[in-house]
Structures are given as C-alpha cells and as structure tokens.
Amino acid sequence: MKPLLSAHNLVKQFPVQAGPFEPKRILTAVAGIDLELYPGETLGLAGESGCGKSTVARLLTGLIPASSGSISFDGKDLASLDAAGTARFRKEVQMIFQDPFSSLNPRMRVAEIIGEPLAIHGIGTPAERRDRVASLATRVGLAPDHLQRFPHEFSGGQRQRIGIARALAVAPRLIIADEPVSALDLSIQAQIINLLQDLKAELGLGFLFITHDLSVLRHLSDRVAIMYLGRIVETGSREAVLDRLLHPYTEVLLSAIPRIDGGKERRVIARGELPSPLAPPSGCPFHTRCPYAKPVCASDPPPLEEKEPGHWAACHFSKEIYRSQR
C-alpha cells in the first residue's frame, strides 16, 4: 500500500533569543525524520516533553513550513501541489489538539464550530450542513441540545468530542491527534479512546497519535515511533518496539512508567536531565544519560538502521540491548 502522507528527512529549526541582549541561537526541534502514514493504520508517536512531537504534527498538517526535507501527500510533494491538490490535502488531513479548552473558539456555538470546516470548503447547502453537523454530533456522543451552546458550558471530555466532530466534518482520511486524551480525567479518557477506535474501524481512518502515556500508546498503535531530541530513535510494529525493543532510550522510557502490576523492580533509571535542544550532545544524542554508553557513543552518531525486518533503531549497541532483554 502507498502511504497517504510521508515525510522525508524533515527538519525544523527555530531561531530563539533568551533575552533582548542575548545572541540569537538556532533550536533544532526536529532534526531530520522520516515517517509514513497509511489509511486505516495508527502510528503512535511518543517521547518526552520538548522532543519535537507537536512540531512534527504541525509540520505534517502544513501549519508551519519545514526548514528542509519534504512531505508528500498521496505520492506528490506538498510544495508542488496545485490549488485543487492543496484543498484536498487540507480536507483529508485533519488535526485534533491536546487542550480542548483553548482549541475551540469561545464565541462560536457548537453547531458553528463543527460546521465551520464544511463552510470553509464550501461543502453542501446550509440545510445539508445542518444535517451533517447533527449526525456528527450524535456520532461523537453529544446531545442535539448541545449544538446551540458555547464551549465554556462543556466539560473537558465533551469539548474533546466537539473537536473530534469538527475534525470529522469534511470526511478526512487521516487524523493527526496531538495528545488528545492527556488533559482528560481517567474516567473520561477511556470514553474518548473508545470513540477514536470506533471511528478508525468504521471510517478506515489513519491516525498519527501523539502521546506520552505508554499504556495508551500500546493500546492504540499499530506501529510505534519513539522520539528523543528531535530524532526518531526506534520505530517498528507495536510488538517489535514495545516487546522486543532495541534502543536503550525505549527501555528507559518504558521502564520508567509506574505500573499497577508493579514494574519498580525492573526499572532502568536514566541518569541526569534531558539535554537542551539548543545544545544537543555530540555523537548519540542519548549518550549523556544512556546506561549502556561507551566512548564511541560520544563521537559517532548512530544512524537509524533496520536491525530486523521492519524494525529500526539508532544505536551502536542494539545487539547487546537485544541480548540483555531476553
């Protein structure tokens, strides 16, 4: 199958300045990544705060331009799309945000919020749009009388439902969801996860699902990619990455998660703090914290290599990690 959306050697740099008299510096938020997204499939993207997940999401949806590298939609370079192609991209790739509180316009009624993308894309007559909005609202579990209310009258879970209905309005094929359940309470999280799963099954949607909750990642992903300091350090099928991991950072990340069945004994603790993306370490970006680091790691950056079929990792010592895991 052909990917619907793919990124090749994608880089995003931001100029930053700590204060008015400080020098301008370059922050590399995304440092050359490759990704492929397919309809009907969920790629889970995980990593710690500041590693570049949201920047990847904003690049892939065209919200911000890349510094270098390319993005292809349906096999065609995004930069070379004509007006009709761009309109189709804007329609078929939709985004759901982490914070349902700030991502909805407070002055619009729910019906207008959900129907806005239809109006923007000029889809249907006003009456048809009204019907579509009503059926979308029902589909995501909102009541008909919710449609005339404003966002502040809703709970976090309900606002996330509104955001999902809005994303679905123009019948997208791919949804980029940036931590859509992180801000929700435990009992509401499960409701929204089920909704997203149902939509995937019913509509054959593809997902890029960004999360830092590894149990959510395991539950929803077909494939998984783990990011560290702007790079993908490991990627492959869910089972490959989560059960037969080949990168020390994945090991540290997975074992750090507090588990209800008690994982404390197996915990591998990373030393020190996350390095700043303004001054990433030389060689392997993880070498300052890696429990397996050897001198070569400080000088030679390990390439992302296919270590077993479909399972990629960027580590000089994946073989040893492999052995220590089994």
Binding site: E48, S49, S155, G157, Q158, D185, L186, S187, I188, Q189, A190, Q191, I193, N194, Q197, H212, D213, L214, S215, V216, R218, H219, L220, S221, R238, V252, L253, A256, I257, P258, R259, I260, D261, G262, G263, K264, R267, I269, A270, G272, E273, L274, R289
Partner: protein, 320 residues
C-alpha cells in the same frame, strides 16, 4: 500512641455566587509516621483542598466549616495563627505540582532555602548556606554550591522540583504533603523524583501524603490508598487490597478503564457520564447517576463509611 495525623469530619466549602460549593465533605483519615497514604481521584474531587485544609491555607472564599485535624494529638484547627505558622514549613511541608508557582522568581535558590533555615531553625547565614548545600546534594542536584546562585528560571522542571523538595525537607518535617509532585514532569524525571521521595522517607521516617491521579504511582509507592469522589472518601484500604479487591463501583470502574486492563485495540471499560456539580446538595449517593448497580434507595439515602475488612472501608449502600 496518637497517630501522626488524624483528620475527622473535615468539611471545606466555598461561598460562590451560584451557591455553596462543597469541596471537601466529611473526610476522615489517619496517617502513621513513616507511612505513605495516596489520595486519588479525578480533578475537582477535593484532593488539593483537603491538603490546603490540613495546613490551614484554604484560599478565600473557601473556609473550613467543620471537623478536626489532629497532628500528634494537637488539633491544628484550634491553634492560634502564629503557632500554625511554625507548624507550616517546619513540621508539615507541602510540595506542589508546579514548582514555578511556589518558588520566588526574584530570589536565588540559595536564598530561598537558607531563609527557611534561618527563620525556623535560627541558623546563622553561614550555617544555613552549608545546610542548603547539603540539602541540594541530598536531592541529587549536581554541583550544589554553584546552583545556590541560580534563579528558578535557570533550572529545568525536574531540577526545580528537586529544589522544592529540598526546601520542603530543610526543616526535617514530620509530615510531607506532595500534591501531584510529578504530574508536570516527564516519566524518566518522575521516576527519579519518586525514588528520591521514597529514599528520604526511609531516612527520616516522615509521613507522606501523596496526591495523584496516576494509579501506577499509587500501586508502586503507597501503603494505603484513599479514593475520593465529589469531596468524599469513597473507599480506603491497604493499596494491595484495594487493587485486588475494589468494592466501590467507582473504584472498580476506574481500575477497569485503564488501557492496560484491555488487550490492544479492544474496547475499554468506561464509566458513563461525568462528575456532578458540587454546588448542588446531594440527596442520595453522589455517584448515583454514573453507578452501574445503583438502586432506588441510592437516590434517597446517603451512604456512610462501612468497615468491609481489616483496614478496608467503603462508602456504598450495596457493599457487603
């Protein structure tokens, strides 16, 4: 011997335009020295206001309307404010979710830690500074002497949280209340901080109230766990017992809804509906509208706490 902390019948309310909001409603709790008690529940269920009530820092228009909070036998609610100030920071310390809001941005780290030592323990400037260095290295801050000159914004989130913990511990408190101390942190840093709190607890024998909504943290760290819903404790038990034998429908629902309880891709169990409005007085059980086993009497009878086993209490009319 008296327990380290014994809360009984604690109620805290906010007088709001739309009515009186019952943030904490008849909470009973005890904590022994050296014990970790987890306080768990969804946002708004009253965890932070329970903590704020213990140190008597409920923000207006909130106020404690009834109950007693005995700390080593002395009711804190009856103490004059100057004595309470001495308890706060000296014998009971708080660690908050967001260290930036509790660190003063215009003073150096060294200043802030040393201040507490000078006020509460009457140390000289030099002694206080030496002690600050000791505390910072205790919480795992590298090059602590140099760090004393740093301002809070120069530190990463994990470092700031360590500084907060160092400050909280400078006066060797007997009780530490940590309100979601790791929620804003990444999992690898969270693991470091929780490890640190456990180690310090073992070394000093302090009691710890750990407020969190992360059930994984609870399972790994807490001796006992109290589940809160709508301002009340609805179930309390030794942690292992609570996970093995949850009795309240809300506790059961929470545990069942965790993604790790389902196979990948399977539907998760859910709790229908959302939390009730705390400005309305409940005629019956506050969980009634979401409860899968609710009966007619649940609409009219408020369930009281029942003893369900050794140290296991539950607030449900249907519980055994």
């Amino acid at each position: 011997m008296a327990a380290l902390l014994e809360i009984s019948g604690l109620s805290t309310r906010f007088n709001l335009p739309g009515g009186e909001l019952r943030a904490v409603e008849g909470v009973d709790l005890t904590l022994e020295a050296g014990e970790t008690l987890a306080l768990v529940g969804e946002s708004g269920c009253g965890k932070s206001m329970t903590a704020a009530s213990i140190i008597r820092l409920v923000p207006p228009p909130g106020r404690i309307v009834s109950g007693s909070i005995r700390f080593k036998g002395v009711d804190l609610l009856q103490l004059p404010e100057d004595q309470m100030r001495n308890v706060r920071g000296n014998r009971i310390a708080m660690v908050f979710q967001d260290p930036m809001t509790s660190l003063n941005p215009v003073f150096t780290i060294g200043n802030q830690i040393a201040e507490g030592l000078r006020i509460h323990r009457g140390l000289s400037k030099e002694k206080a500074e030496a002690e600050a260095v000791t505390m910072l290295s205790l919480v795992g801050i590298p090059a602590p002497r140099e760090r004393l000159k740093d301002y809070p914004h120069q530190l990463s989130g994990g470092m700031r949280q360590r500084v907060m913990i160092a400050m909280a511990l400078t006066c060797r408190p007997e009780l530490v209340i940590a309100d979601e101390p790791t929620t804003a942190l990444d999992v690898t840093i969270q693991a470091q901080i929780l490890e640190l709190l456990d180690r310090l607890k073992e070394e000093t024998g302090m009691g710890l109230i750990l407020i969190t909504h992360n059930l994984g943290i609870v399972a790994e760290r807490a001796h006992r766990t109290a589940i809160m819903y709508a301002g009340q404790i609805v179930e309390m038990a030794p942690t292992a017992e609570l996970f093995a034998n949850p009795l309240h429908p809300y506790t059961r629902g929470l545990l069942a809804s965790l993604p790790e309880k389902a196979k990948p891709g399977e539907r998760l169990a859910t709790i229908a509906g959302s939390v009730p409005d705390l400005k309305k007085e409940f005629a019956g059980c506050p969980f009634r509208e979401r409860c899968p086993i609710c009966e007619e009497r649940c609409a009219t009878h408020q369930p009281g706490m029942k003893e369900a086993g050794p140290g296991h209490q539950v607030r449900c009319l249907m519980a055994p």
